[in-house]
Symmetry: C2
Subunit: 201 residues, 2 copies
C-alpha cells in the first residue's frame, strides 16, 4: 500500500521523461526514411519494440510529424509503470512533447498541420486527447480490437469513434503495417510482459 | 504559425507546472474543512476561481483526496494555454501529481482508495483517464451540458459515461454545489475569458 500523504505536500509540477535510449534513437532517424505513412509507421513500431526490449515501458509508441514535409517533431512511448503515471501513454507523450517543442497548445498552428502516427489505435483517453491537440490526421497500426484480444483495456470509446474524429476534420488512416503492429503487442504478451491493472495500458 | 522543427531536437521530457500561487493556497487548506463532499467541492471551486482571477488558466480545477480520511493528496487547475499543453486539464494535473506523490501509477493502491473531485464533469479525455488512474470515486460540480451551453467543447463521450464508470466500480456523484460551479464557468465567459480553439478546453 502506498502512503500518499506522508511527509511532503501536494506536488506543484510533474515531469514525465522518455527513456535514456530515446535521444540516440531519434538522432539516427533521418527525414529521408519518414516520407510516407509506411515509413513513419515502421519508425514508430521500431520505437515500440525497442521500448519493450529495453524494459522501459509497454508495447506502445507514437510520433508527431509535420504534414508539410514529414519532419519528425516529437516521439512518445508508453511510460506508465516506470514514470508512475497512468497518463503516460505513447500518444500522450508524443502530443505533449510536440507541443512543448512547437511552443503551442494547438498543433494546428504549425504550418501545414501535424499528424500523429500511433502503433495501436488510441484508447479512450488518448482518443479524447486527439481533438484537443490540434493534429489534423492520425495514422494507426494495430486496431483496438487487436489490443483487446490480447488483454489490453482500451476503455469506453464512443461507438463511431472514427466518425467522431472525421466529423471534426481529422483524417483517420487505419491498418498501416497492421500485421507487424499486432505482432508487437503479441510479442510483448508472449514474452510475459505485464498487462498491468485496471489502471494501466 | 509555429515552426515546430527549427533548430532543436524532439524533446525527451515534458514538465507541467501549477501556478505560483498554488503552493501557498494549498498550505492554507486544513484537512478540517475538507471532511465531506461539500467542503471538498468548495475548496476545488475556490481553486478554479483563483485560477481565473490570477489569469493562470481556464475555469476548471480538481483535486485528489484520500477516501480514508479526506486528506488532500494533490490538486490540479487548467493550465492548457500558459503551459502550452492541451493535456493540462485540471483533472489530468490532479491525477498526475497525485500519482507522483503516491509514487504509483495506480491510486487504487493507496490505503482506503482515492477520489477525484472536479469542478466540472470530465471531458472525453479526462473521462478516459479516470479508469486508468485508479481512483474509485469521482465527485462533480457543473454538468458537461452546463459547460457546453457556455461554449466549451467536451468532446465525444460515450452516451452512458456515468454507467461506464459505475460498471468499473467507480462511484459517481454529481451536482455537488452545482449552481456555484456553473457560476464559475459563466463568470469566466462573462469576463471575456478565452474559450480557446478546437484544441482546448
Amino acid at each position: 500500500m502506498s502512503d500518499a500523504t506522508a511527509g511532503d505536500r501536494p506536488p506543484m509540477h510533474v515531469t514525465i521523461a522518455l527513456p535514456d535510449w530515446a535521444a540516440t534513437f531519434v538522432a539516427s532517424a533521418s527525414n529521408e526514411r519518414l516520407r510516407d505513412d509506411d515509413a513513419r509507421m515502421a519508425f514508430v513500431l521500431e520505437l515500440a519494440r525497442r521500448n519493450v526490449r529495453e524494459g522501459t515501458g509497454g508495447p506502445f509508441a507514437a510520433a508527431v510529424f509535420a504534414r508539410r514535409d514529414g519532419a519528425l517533431i516529437a516521439i512518445g512511448v508508453n511510460r506508465v509503470v516506470p514514470e508512475q503515471c497512468s497518463v503516460a501513454h505513447g500518444e500522450m507523450l508524443a502530443i505533449m512533447t510536440a507541443q512543448h517543442r512547437a511552443a503551442t497548445h494547438d498543433l494546428s498552428t504549425v504550418e501545414g498541420g501535424c499528424e500523429l502516427v500511433t502503433s495501436t489505435e488510441p484508447c479512450a483517453m488518448c482518443l479524447g486527447a486527439i481533438p484537443w491537440s490540434g493534429v489534423s490526421r492520425i495514422v494507426c497500426g494495430a486496431r483496438d480490437v487487436d489490443a483487446r484480444a490480447i488483454g489490453f483495456d482500451e476503455g469506453a470509446k464512443p461507438n463511431d469513434w472514427v466518425g467522431s474524429l472525421r466529423d471534426r476534420g481529422i483524417e483517420v488512416v487505419r491498418d498501416v503495417r497492421h500485421e507487424e503492429a499486432v505482432a508487437v503487442l503479441q510479442g510483448y504478451a508472449d514474452g510475459g510482459g505485464e498487462l498491468y491493472n485496471a489502471g494501466g495500458r
